[in-house]
Amino acid sequence: MDGIQKNLLKEIAGLEEIPEGAYNIRENGKSAGRRTTANIDIVTKTDKPGIDILIKPGTKNERVDLPVLLTETGLSDLVYNDFYIGEDADVLIVAGCGIHNAGGLKSEHDGIHAFHIGKNARLKYVEKHYGEGEGTGERIMNPTTVVEIDEGGYMEMETAQIRGVDSTYRTTRAKLADRATLIVHEKIMTHGKQTATTDFEVDLNGKDSGAHVVSRSVAKDESHQLFLSNINGNNACNGHTECDAIVMDDASVSAVPKINANNVDAALIHEAAIGKIAGELLIKLMTLGLSEKEAEEQIVNGFLR
């Protein structure tokens, strides 16, 4: 691995070296390394680009790393990854995509991830998107995540896109069975002329299922963000969607939260708040000796932590 690849790996997965445990590294559209364990198998798809990640029932406290690195300019990479989390398993999956575009052509990665979470299984899924490179070529990522959670299953999804992605359209679809839970924490920061759209749709089909979808975002310069969220309560369930955004400079943010109660016992809440950084917050930090710019940085970093 060269310095650029190592840096991308550090940004998206916090990895300094080749990870321990199961992993699959995808680089410029090809597999660049893989390891499986007794409980976790990774199999290349034969009908389309991508892999199947198979986690045996009862697997506990294991981690899978799935970084994707794009360093060639002009490459469009489309990949289908299917995750099968066996019953009663409890695992962490860290995925992410780093683009280094040094050229003038567009680099694009579109990942289509399908999660099948078995009965009473628990999954924490962390996904980071990051772009860099001195070239003028656009860096584009359009991830699609499809989630099915079986009875009593649990998924926590943490996604972050903090820097360097010019355009993103993030789609998430989820269906939950009885007592299943989905928690989503999304963090987005856009700058320059970037655009980011996130589009959630969650079907709470099962009795006592629950979803908590929270997005925190900061839009700077002339960037634009659109937050779409739709929670359908089709049974006795709890649903909560929240968008909290800071808008700065000439940026714009739209939030369209939607909740549909199709059952008398569906309890659904939506919240959306967009605004600039309150003057009192800046003043407080300035009375501690920070400049206005330093104060702004501290507030934004804390907000997106």
Binding site: L281, T287, L288, G289, L290, S291, E292, I299
Partner: protein, 239 residues
């Protein structure tokens, strides 16, 4: 020493400009000075003029002989002025540890940050990693605000009504904190308060009403008569 020379402050109102502070002259270098007086009399405005949040319409402000009239909030903070808000603000995402570190001007170890929290009677281990958000009560926020001022330990610390918005139990502890601060502080404390127990700690009490200094002296000179029924109504603004 802080000096206000003929300071006035006017703000826009419905009927044109209104004078909120009118020709105030003060020299402050005692260890513990209290501003008191009726609500709307100009105490908080004066504190904000000192911190640089408002700039005076006329007059000059000096800190240790240096003219700071045109200095920004940041510059004044760096020169040695601290300002604890009447209503502390909440920060989504920033923790108590972050704020104490920012106040100190360097990243503190948890143990170092904890010493300041212990000073204000907060069980440090429970608070250090808490977010300074809506989950903290008014009394807790007030004490964190004071811990930040302690961490800074500047030549001048201004507290705007530290007793506002806290419950009685917290208030008793607050008095203890200020009594302790009085014994340990290196610089000057300027405190805005309506509370007799806080005014009792002060070396000097200054009454501000209608934007002017109306009484000024030791607590022995100013306090007698200040809390009689008549003056209480003046203090609470029900004139």
């Amino acid at each position: 020493m802080l000096e206000l020379r003929d300071v006035s402050f006017r703000a826009d109102s419905e009927n044109g400009q209104k004078e909120i502070i009118s020709h105030v002259n003060l020299k402050i270098d005692e260890r513990f000075v209290a501003f008191t007086g009726p609500n709307g009399g100009g105490k908080s405005t004066l504190a904000r003029l000192i911190a640089g949040i408002y700039l005076p319409s006329e007059g000059k402000i000096l800190l240790d002989g240096q003219d700071i009239t045109d200095k920004s909030i940041t510059e004044r903070a760096r020169l040695g002025i601290s300002y604890a808000f009447q209503q502390p603000v909440r920060f989504k995402g920033l923790t108590v540890h972050d704020l104490i570190s920012l106040a100190k001007g360097k990243t503190l170890t948890p143990a170092e940050a904890c010493t300041y929290l212990s000073e204000v009677g907060l069980c440090a281990r429970d608070y250090i990693n808490r977010e300074v958000n809506a989950s903290l009560s008014g009394g807790e926020l007030k004490r964190i605000e004071i811990a930040m001022a302690l961490a800074r330990s500047t030549a001048l610390t201004v507290f705007d009504e530290p007793e506002a918005g806290i419950d009685l139990w917290s208030f008793g502890n607050l008095i203890t904190v200020f009594e302790k601060m009085y014994r340990k502080i290196n610089g000057s404390i300027l405190i805005i308060s309506h509370q007799e127990r806080i005014l009792n700690i002060a070396d000097r009490v200054i009454v501000i009403a209608d934007g002017k200094v109306t009484r000024d002296g030791t607590k022995e000179e100013v306090l007698p008569g200040l809390f009689t029924a008549k003056t209480c109504s003046v203090l609470s603004g029900d004139r």
